[in-house]
């Protein structure tokens, strides 16, 4: 076994690997760029070595600098995590040349599977089902269109070296094929330094289901069941689970066998994932093989009880797998929600800045469920624009899918993140979505259920009553405290009443309270009594309550005359007033926020790479106006309506702030 391992990565995955190393008594070495000198993985590791400037190209994927760190630290093995150098054969070769063990598959397997066109051929030869497509590379946009027509729309344009949703576009028309080809190629060039693009059939009702495999040096190959990763936004996975609610044991076994066959065919070692696309009739096709640890590996760990990082390390050290296929359990249900520093209310655009508050829910057993949070950030840390915007992976396990989803919804409600925009509200919305709970998923789930983008959750009437009851009970506690200030006129103190009017989401409800030692009974609009229990004290930002014995977790912030409450993806301004106050408040005019629809605002901090229109131009709704590059992603900003451009207020090459006006409409 190794005594010192260097982790050639950052963020949550570096922290994740360090945890297992610690448990195994292995010393760890972190590497870090200038932007990461205060990062969590640096704090957690036993040693840390600087490897250069913030851009990944100059640090985390700079083989020379990482190798220098390996030498300096004297690490015997390197765990590459995912992304960066994890599937880079030149890196593996550089390590091999110096006798350092690469904790991952052999370079030959990486190379065989790294090219999406070659990998498909190998898979087909190994008896794995493959999707119809064009085997060759695409030279230009016109060829892309021609081949797309041959295969038949819809088609997917993919970067040969791609991954993580970068350099991928779906096209339903010739125009989209042309535009998608250019965009994919540009993104691929920027992200991977490899602009090769190919085209394949886009499968209908597709679900993304992948098989985790483990293979050792002694010829043992096992699979650890599947993960379903159909909840994706623009090909970026958002929620994953294991097992899949869609597979039957037969399909599961068949997919597992094909995955193992492919692993054997390429002489695979270590952990790997064979991705399949599964159509509505449970036909499954090989998509690609990821020759590394996957982001979503924790759900597999939760249902099998196997630490994949540990197995990777043991395999790399030459140990044999300690279990057979039959011994691998499939126990309960696990879900993973990826917390991204992306603002769902700004079309999921990246958000950067300081995490002024970061309080994950408690980990470990919570009732019959288990909560796990893999994270690479901490309160007071900085979300940098240089790297992937994923900041945490919140996982829950429970005996059943419903329970796992309920535990996830609860954990998301209790997850406090402030200072940056993030997708917690959206994750909550998915977790409570009826179609998600029924397991009727496709990779288009998000696009279909939120066709106009995410605008928050409107709680139903019942949920609003429960929230109103909780708000009234909390408000009363706060008011009683206010009435206990010093300097009162003795015997003429304020008596805090028990009748309140709660206004939330345009709903006005009366709340009649009677409090006792254990909680508050609340009658909303003369309906049935709701019992609010749980400790909350003024100033606390999280209220973990039970209303009629059903958990209600609220993020609480002060606001004039009430609270801002966030729960279940809803962001609610709640007023709590005395009946008289409510009567008078009803006389107040409703004010509308200023109209900014006449301008194109920069939705995230980034670089204005292209301005496609000039002053006086007439534009159609949906026409691209500008592209802004942030987090290595090229984002096209489109006209939200038809009109004429009045003024350009930014120039190409400008670094823009959030909400900076790029141009105005006439």
């Amino acid at each position: 076994m190794f005594s010192k391992i260097l982790i050639a990565n950052r963020g949550e995955i570096a922290c994740r690997v360090i945890k297992t190393c610690r448990r195994l008594g292995i010393r760890t070495v972190a590497v870090f760029s200038d932007a990461d000198s205060r990062a969590l993985h640096v704090r957690m590791a036993d040693e840390a070595v600087p490897i250069g400037p913030a851009p990944a190209a100059d640090s985390y994927i700079h083989i020379g600098r990482v190798m220098e760190a390996v030498r300096r630290s004297g690490a015997e093995a390197v765990h590459p995590g995912y992304g960066f150098l994890s599937e880079n054969p030149r890196f593996a070769a550089a390590l091999a040349a110096e006798g350092v063990v690469f904790i991952g598959p052999p370079a030959s397997a990486v190379e065989a599977m790294g090219d999406k066109i070659a990998s498909k051929r190998i898979a087909a030869e190994a008896g794995v089902n493959t999707v119809p497509g064009h085997p060759g590379l695409i030279a230009d946009a016109e060829e892309a269109v021609r081949i797309a027509r041959e295969i038949g729309y819809p088609v997917m344009l993919k970067a040969s070296a791609g991954g993580g949703g970068k350099g991928m576009r779906i096209a339903w028309t010739d125009a989209e094929a042309r535009e998608g080809f250019v965009a994919s190629r540009n993104e691929a060039a920027a992200s991977f330094g490899d602009d090769r693009i190919f085209v394949e059939k886009f499968v209908d009702q597709p679900r993304h289901i992948e098989i985790q495999i483990l293979a050792d040096r002694h010829g043992h190959v096992v699979h650890l069941h599947e993960r379903e990763c159909s909840i994706q936004r623009r090909n970026q996975k958002v929620i994953e689970e294991a097992p899949s609610p869609f597979l039957d044991p037969g399909t599961r076994a068949a997919m597992g066998e094909q995955a193992c066959a492919l692993a054997r065919a390429v002489g695979y070692e270590s952990a790997g994932t064979v991705e399949f696309i599964v159509d509505g009739a449970r036909n499954f096709y090989f998509l690609e093989m990821n020759t590394r640890l996957q982001v979503e590996h924790p759900v597999t760990e939760l249902i099998t009880g196997i630490d994949l990082v540990e197995q990777m390390i043991r395999i790399a050290a030459g140990e044999a797998l300690p279990f057979t296929q039959e011994e691998i359990a499939l126990n309960g249900w696990a879900m993973e929600a990826r917390l991204y520093a992306e603002d769902p209310f700004r079309r999921f655009l990246p958000s950067t800045g300081r995490l002024t508050r970061y309080r994950p829910p408690p980990e470990g057993p919570q009732g019959s469920a288990i909560v796990r949070n893999d994270t690479g950030v901490f309160e007071g840390g900085e979300i940098s624009r240089f790297y992937d915007p994923m900041i945490a992976k919140l996982c829950t396990w429970a005996p059943t899918r419903r329970e796992a989803a309920a535990a996830m919804a609860e954990a998301l409600d209790a997850f406090e993140v402030e200072g940056i925009g993030h997708n917690l509200p959206f994750l909550s919305a998915v977790m409570k979505h009826p179609r998600f709970l029924e397991g009727r998923l496709t990779t288009a789930f998000i696009a279909e259920e939120w066709p106009d983008g995410f605008k928050g959750v409107e709680p139903d009437a019942e949920a609003l009553r429960r929230i109103a009851a909780a708000a009234a009970a909390m408000w009363r506690v706060a008011e009683i405290r206010r009435a206990r200030i010093s300097g009162r006129l003795d015997n003429h103190e304020r008596r805090v009443g028990s009748e309140w009017v709660v206004e939330v989401s345009g709903c006005r409800m009366t709340a009649s309270l009677s409090a006792d030692r254990d909680g508050t009974s609340v009658v909303i609009d003369s309906g049935p009594t709701l019992r609010v229990e749980g400790a909350w004290l003024p100033g606390q930002t999280l209220a973990r309550l039970r209303v009629d014995d059903v958990p209600l977790t609220l993020k609480v912030a002060k606001a004039p005359g009430g609270f801002r409450l966030r729960t279940g993806g809803a962001d609610l301004r709640v007023h709590v007033r005395t009946p008289r106050e409510a009567e008078l408040a009803a006389l107040m005019p409703v004010k509308r926020p200023p109209d900014l629809s006449g301008s194109l605002l920069c939705p995230m901090p980034g670089l204005l790479t292209r301005l496609m229109v000039g002053e006086g131009d007439d534009v159609e709704e949906g026409q691209p106006l500008a592209t802004v590059e942030a987090m290595k992603m090229e984002n096209t900003l489109r006209a939200e309506r038809s009109g004429r451009i009045a003024r350009l207020l930014a120039r190409e090459g400008d670094t823009l702030a959030v909400d900076q006006v790029i141009l105005t409409f006439a």
Binding site: S37, R38, R354, L355, T356, R357, Y358, F378, E379, G380, G381, E382, R481, R482, A483, R484, I485, S486, G487, R488, L489, H492, E493, R494, R495, G497, L537, P538, G539, Q540, T541, K558, P560, G561, R577, T578, R580, E581, L584, A585, L587, M588, P589, K591
Partner: protein, 509 residues
């Protein structure tokens, strides 16, 4: 029984104000009536009205035929969370809330009582101005109120809620109170209105632009805060009152708190960015030091390069003054100096301890500042800190350069406890500027200057040079700031310090 019925009849008539039609018109403007406002301001059922039956004595212009009870202002006392306050509320439905001799007398009566009994006066202004029919008697009434505002200043807190028109001489009563809260779109204050402005200067301007809540909170700094409507303004006024002492002798109020004074905030260890020229939000520090993250900001929209407002620590009010690196790098300029000086003097007058958070690169340079008199305006803040005898706790987070270091509640201005974070740089100026002056001869030699700069940084860009001289009492871990500040304030609760006897000082106004 008849007598009781007569009382009720008269009361009902007084409460009706200007009558249903005028009340409806008031509501249609988005405004509440004088009595409705009092109801919201005071604890339920606590209002005791005075002078309900007062009427004016004017006879000219047919005024003798119209003598409504109360004369356009409702006055009395009540409680806010059980604490005594005096209140007057002008009734726009009666003669447009115009101020008559008797109207003024009602206000003066409660002001006199407030002074005798040591409790704040809350005024709600909604008045068309002087009662023209009364002529000079009305003007005399204003002056009587002004005189009381002056004498009450620094004795009892005076808060003005401007909730309608407040024009001409009438503005000078709120102007002399401690805080002015306005309501957006329904209140305005100006000395001369848009029509006079147009006649005299040909400027065309609306009442809202000339003297609305946004104008006065962002441009003129006349007002301290602006709110969406009457209900919100009054709710926030109650919140402000909870921070304020009843008088200059009562000491700060205390209320139960649910926040550990020893709470550590590890995230503050990374508040200061690695690059010394990168801004950060000082409000995060304020919120993390405060009990329950509760901060009542004063003049949030004006001179945002300095932050002022009230927090509580261990349930007791503390005034905070903090440079804001996010705006103008936290420089002191004319506006910031004036804003903070007035706030410091309020705190000192009412025995509210002051917490000063320092990250100041100096005074803002430029002709605009010099011609505007930054010398005298900057001196106001220096003066205010220097004369203040309340407990003064200072935390230098990063830059404390030059004269601005002296100004910001330094040890030399009788700072009681002066802390510095390890990231503090207490020096005459930044390294680059200092080196350019010290090594003028090497100006052409970039490498030499860079070396000199590094050398200067190593020697002076830290808190230890000051700490070695005792100008800093202790260099503290950022994470422990709340605990340190809480302990310092606890230690200072018995502080007694008096300035030399004088009639009054001569602050450079």
């Amino acid at each position: 029984m008849d007598i009781l019925a007569e009382l009720e009849r008269r009361r009902a008539a007084a409460r009706a104000g200007g009558g249903a039609a005028r009340v409806a018109a008031q509501h249609a403007r988005g405004k509440l009536t004088a009595r409705e406002r009092i109801e919201l301001l005071l604890d339920e059922g606590s209002f005791e009205e005075f002078d309900m039956f007062v009427t004016h004595r004017a006879t000219e212009f047919g005024m003798d035929r119209d003598r409504p009870a109360g004369d356009g202002v409702v006055t009395g006392w009540g409680t806010v969370n059980g604490r005594l306050v005096y209140v007057f509320s002008q009734d726009f439905t009666v003669f447009g809330g115009s101020l008559s001799e008797t109207h003024a007398q009602k206000i003066c009566k409660i002001m006199d009582m407030a002074m005798r009994n040591g409790a704040p006066v809350i005024g709600m202004n909604d008045s068309g101005g002087a009662r023209i029919q009364e002529g000079v008697a009305s003007l005399a009434g204003y002056a009587e109120v002004f005189q009381r505002n002056v004498l009450a200043s620094g004795v009892i807190p005076q808060i003005s809620l401007v909730m309608g028109p407040c024009a001409g001489g009438a503005v000078y009563s709120p102007a002399m109170t401690d805080f002015i809260l306005m309501v957006k779109e329904t209140s305005y204050m100006f000395v001369t209105g848009p029509e006079v402005v147009r006649t005299v200067t040909n400027e065309v301007v609306t009442a809202e632009e000339l003297g609305g809540a946004l104008t006065h909170t962002r441009r003129s700094s006349v007002a301290d805060a602006a709110f969406e409507n009457d209900v919100e303004a009054i709710a926030e006024a109650r919140r402000l009152i909870d921070f304020l002492p009843l008088s200059n002798r009562s000491g700060v109020p205390e209320r139960p708190f649910f926040d550990d004074p020893g709470r550590l905030e590890p995230s503050l260890d990374t508040l200061i960015p690695e690059s010394t020229n990168t801004p950060y939000d000082m409000k995060e520090l304020i919120l993390k030091v405060a009990d329950e993250g509760d901060f009542f900001e004063i003049q949030a929209e004006f001179a945002r390069n300095i932050v002022t407002g009230f927090i509580r620590i261990e349930g007791r009010t503390v005034g905070v003054v903090a440079n804001q690196p996010m705006v103008l790098a936290g420089c002191l300029d004319i506006d910031a100096s004036r804003k903070a000086a007035r706030f410091v003097r309020f705190c000192d007058a009412f025995e509210i301890p002051i917490l000063t958070l320092v990250d100041v690169p100096g005074f803002l340079p430029g002709t605009a500042q010099e011609y505007g008199g930054i010398i005298k305006h900057g001196a106001k803040l220096l003066f205010a800190y220097g004369e203040a005898t309340v407990p003064k706790v200072t935390v230098i987070t990063r830059k404390a350069y030059g004269g601005a270091y002296d100004v910001m509640a330094s040890k030399h201005l009788r700072g009681d406890v002066n802390y510095a974070w390890p990231t503090a740089e207490i020096a005459v100026m930044g390294a680059k500027g200092a080196v350019e002056i010290l090594y003028r001869a090497e100006r052409g030699d970039g490498d030499a200057l860079a070396a000199r700069t590094r050398d200067y940084e190593a020697r002076f860009a830290n808190p230890f040079v000051a700490a070695e001289r005792g100008f800093i009492d202790e260099v503290i871990q950022p994470r422990s700031t709340r605990r340190r500040v809480a302990r310092a304030l606890a230690m200072l609760r018995g502080k007694r310090l008096e300035n030399p006897w004088k009639k009054h000082d001569n602050i450079p106004l």
